[in-house]
């Protein structure tokens, strides 16, 4: 069972030495209420070989897609449509064993859950997203990313 499935992402100090980076495409959920940003993220991730299995702009839409599609990782804005909070979405997804990273203009100080791996601040370089989701997924699996992009700030939270 992987760390993501147990909900026990390791602290950066505890990252194991083996590099689990590979080129397997990840199934990703994008949670973003701005249509243009969602399209940008989708295109950037697709260009990097990943699959975007859904785009949601509310907590309930995100959970519905996540329950059906079981994504490997979710990228989540903090401010969502209809007054929803990305913090809530990330927490509920993490509770389901789905790791998350935030994409936000105002990155939260903490993730609040070990599987809320980190945050990429907006505006971001679309080119950094592919490596960021790969690194976050490696961390969620208990591995050590070989070359995590500087744009991704890890929370490194313990239970």
């Amino acid at each position: 069972m992987t760390a993501a499935h147990t909900g026990l992402a390791p602290h950066p100090d505890e990252w194991v030495g083996d590099d689990r980076d590979d080129e397997t495409p990840l199934n990703l959920l994008v949670i973003e209420d701005e249509a243009l940003v969602a399209m940008l993220v989708e295109d950037a991730l697709t260009l990097h070989g990943h699959r975007v299995i859904g785009i949601a702009d509310t907590v309930s839409a995100a959970l519905a897609i996540a329950d059906q599609e079981r994504p490997d990782l979710a990228l989540c804005d903090v401010k969502l449509a209809d007054g929803d909070s990305g913090l809530t979405a990330a927490q509920l997804l993490a509770d389901r064993g789905i790791p998350c990273i935030f994409l936000s203009g105002n990155c939260p100080e903490r993730g609040g859950h070990p599987l809320v791996i980190g945050c990429i601040a907006k505006p971001f370089r679309a080119g950094s997203l592919g490596a960021a989701v790969r690194a976050a997924h490696v961390v969620a699996q208990g591995g050590r990313p070989s070359d995590p992009p500087a744009a991704l700030r890890f929370y490194g939270e313990r239970i």
Partner: protein, 388 residues
């Protein structure tokens, strides 16, 4: 910020001399009137020093006061904020006074009222300054708000009669009200400073957003002009146009009384001017103010831009708000030749589909010449509010 309820100073006073109590009902009546008048002045004051001057002017005759001092604590420093009954030279001497060894310094340190009599025959260091003024009796009280020391108020008489219990009770009460009023003024000043800071930040944000968008427009346009092939050039110029639409949505935001809201019909007019160069009377009719959040305004403006890319003519645009308060729907009609046909092609345009989803909007046509966009009016959150 809510002020704590007033706590009245305990009596009897902690003084070093006690006068006989004056329980004359006429005195009590006059003092009550003074308290009422003083309270009015203190609560209406907008300047701390003038407030104490006004208080002194009100009570000096009734209480036979000759001098007063108000020292204010400013961080670690103690400053003479105002004084009365002094010559210019005496004022300057008081302003340069080392307050530490003085009566007021002691009142601050010990946070208690000091009532000193027979000062002229005393050789105490702490009364040296007031003795030099000919003061015979001196009452010095700390100005406290909760546990915070704001300063002191001191009142002196050249006559030998000590302050009696009722006079001291009155002065303590006024001192307490003065402390409350000073606290209020400080809170108001902090609020004003906070609002000023917010206004400056908003102006800075306005500048930076506009500047950043303008730089982006310039950059994309430049690349477009340099592009070697027509397709790339057209795509980049289209991107620059969309950035211009984004900038248009932000421009009116900072001019509204209610930050965060944008006048949508005005924005649509602006977008049409920029996309088509139309500068005459805008073909837009509105049956009331339609203010929406900036996020929805940006999405709606981009949607208009995308729709206009599908059709040749500038449409007549009508805005109507329907539905019960809290559940209003905004209906926008676009009327011009060919606009009705757009509804058949928009499902194939990824950007239009995503923008409609973001806006929770539907696009239908009534006939060949009319396209109808219906969307929640910000869920009713802003529907009743005007942008200007």
């Amino acid at each position: 910020m809510a002020l704590p309820p007033p706590s009245f100073p305990p009596l009897p006073l902690s003084g070093e001399a006690n006068g006989a109590a004056a329980a004359d009902p006429a005195d009590a009546q006059r003092y009550l009137s003074l308290v009422v008048a003083a309270t009015d002045r203190l609560m209406a004051a907008d300047d701390p020093a003038a407030m104490i001057d006004s208080l002194f002017a009100l009570i000096r005759d009734e209480l036979r006061l000759d001098v007063f001092f108000h020292f204010r604590r400013d961080g670690e420093a103690i400053r003479l904020e105002t004084a009365g009954g002094l010559t210019r030279a005496e004022w300057q001497a008081a302003a340069g006074l080392d307050i530490g060894p003085s009566v007021c310094g002691q009142a601050m340190r010990e946070r208690r009222t000091l009532h000193l009599t027979d000062i002229q025959t005393s050789g105490e260091e702490r009364t040296e300054f007031v003795r030099s003024l000919g003061v015979q009796v001196y009452l010095c009280m700390p100005l406290l708000h909760g546990d915070e020391l704001l300063g002191t108020l001191g009142f002196g008489r050249r006559a030998a009669r000590p302050f009696d219990e009722e006079e001291r009770r009155l002065l303590l009460l006024l001192c307490h009200y003065a402390a409350l009023a000073q606290h209020r003024l400080r809170i108001e000043e902090a609020l004003r400073r906070g609002l000023d800071t917010q206004a400056r930040l908003l102006a800075e944000l306005n500048h930076r957003v506009r500047n950043a968008l303008q730089v982006a427009i310039g950059l994309v346009s430049h690349e477009g002009r340099q592009a070697p092939d027509t397709g790339t050039r057209r795509a980049l110029m289209r991107a620059a146009e969309r950035l211009q639409v984004l900038a248009s949505a932000h421009r009116p935001l900072y001019a509204t009384a209610d930050p965060g809201l944008v006048d949508l019909p005005a924005l649509f007019g602006d977008v049409i001017v920029q996309l088509r160069g139309e500068t005459g009377d805008m073909p837009i009719t509105v049956d009331g103010p339609v203010a929406v959040s900036i996020e929805r305004a940006v999405a709606a403006a981009l949607l208009l831009d995308a729709l206009m890319a599908q059709a040749a003519g500038v449409p007549h645009i009508g805005f109507t708000v329907n539905g019960a308060p809290g559940n209003e729907m905004l209906r926008i009609s676009f009327q011009a030749t060919g606009w009705g046909r757009i509804a058949d092609v928009v499902d194939r345009d990824r950007l239009v589909v995503r923008l409609c989803h973001q806006l929770r909007a539907t696009l239908t046509n009534e006939d060949d010449g009319c396209l109808i966009l219906v969307m929640p009016h910000d869920g009713g959150a802003y529907g009743a509010r005007s942008a200007s």
